[in-house]
């Protein structure tokens, strides 16, 4: 199984519908400071970590919606989709491709938001979505996601905190 494509729609600094194709093997993502590289990582965690306490740097989920950049109007909702090649059926769904989508819409009073999940473009509950991720072992809580700053955090941990990392794995 591998990630074939990421589709972003008004997610953080990606204002237009942006498709990011990915291939198997070793991909490097590069570019200047503030260009949007970690925002791509945030999009992946946004979809794969709906219940995760993993900091997406946004104070609130609504901060993930494109804020208008320099001169445009802010968007009302943001959407991120991950398209996986599932020929090995690692995700327990009987299709060769699985598309996982999450959408956050700012509510009209601008105070709250709506959060929706879709599997292959069909609406799904948070519970079903989360179960799917856990079964395929691609949830955002794993150590396969190393965020900018995680190295420093591990270096500065106390011995007790470090041992608790192993507890959580057990």
């Amino acid at each position: 199984m591998h990630l074939k494509e990421i589709e972003l729609d008004n997610f953080k600094s990606f204002s237009r519908k942006t498709k990011i194709p990915l291939l198997e093997g070793y991909t490097a993502i590069t570019g200047p400071n503030g260009a949007g590289k970690s925002n791509i990582s945030d999009a992946i965690l946004f979809v794969l970590g709906p219940k995760s306490s993993r900091v997406i740097r946004a104070g609130r989920l609504t901060d993930l919606v494109f804020n208008g950049g320099k001169e445009k109007r802010p968007a009302k909702e943001c959407k991120a989709s991950l398209i996986f090649d599932n020929s090995d059926r690692l995700i327990p769904i009987d299709t060769n491709e699985v598309k996982l989508t999450r959408l956050v819409r700012i509510s009209d009073n601008a105070e709250g938001y709506y959060s929706y999940f879709y599997v292959n473009d069909k609406k799904s509950s948070l519970g079903e979505f989360d179960n799917l991720l856990a079964n395929a072992r691609i949830s955002a809580d794993g150590y396969n996601f190393v965020q900018q700053g995680d190295i420093t955090r591990i270096v500065e941990m106390t011995n007790l905190e470090r041992r608790r990392i192993l507890d959580d794995i057990a």
Partner: protein, 165 residues
């Protein structure tokens, strides 16, 4: 519960020692429990000795050495619970050229069995990758991307020239 912890500890410790030796070109490292009979009542100590040096407390290691040690620990955990894909965001920041290259070569080897996506500003990392995604921001605060797949097949265009790094 304690037996489960010991088994995990043993497996991760073995991975950690092997990976650190690889990344540091011959150094030694190991994980120790503060309380061996009752692990859950004490912490986990990381002991590391870079090549040709004496063991020093982790706090006395250099910035780059600490970073390499922490990264070996993360890789050791990853090896214990393998995943089909990995995302690493600027893990080579504190490393000098030689260490950053060791890390990207190790990632290159592991990428035969899993998909790796590494965000990096370092040329030595970019040159080990199979594919490169260039991310830039236009003047209106909107991100643009450009993808160069299979860069190994292009004989004479070093990727960084293309992306004006």
């Amino acid at each position: 519960k304690k037996v489960g912890f010991q088994r995990i500890f043993g497996a991760i410790n073995e991975n950690f020692t092997k990976i650190f030796s690889e990344l540091s070109g011959g150094g030694e490292a190991e994980l120790l429990l503060e309380n061996e009979e009752d692990p859950l009542s004490g912490g986990l100590i990381i002991k590391a000795r870079p090549k040709d040096k004496k063991f020093v407390r982790m706090e006395a290691l250099s910035g780059g050495e600490k970073s390499l040690t922490a990264l070996s620990f993360i890789f050791a955990i990853q090896a214990y619970q393998p995943s089909p894909f990995y995302l690493l965001d600027e893990v080579d920041m504190f490393l000098d050229g030689v260490n950053a290259e060791n890390v990207s070569r190790a990632v290159g080897r592991s990428s035969k069995n899993a998909q790796f996506i590494q965000i990096s500003l370092r040329k030595v990392t970019l040159k080990e990758a199979d594919h490169i995604i260039g991310v830039t921001m236009q003047r209106e605060g909107i991100t643009d991307i450009v993808m160069k797949p299979n860069i190994g097949d292009i004989p004479d265009t070093p990727p960084e020239t293309e992306l004006k790094l």
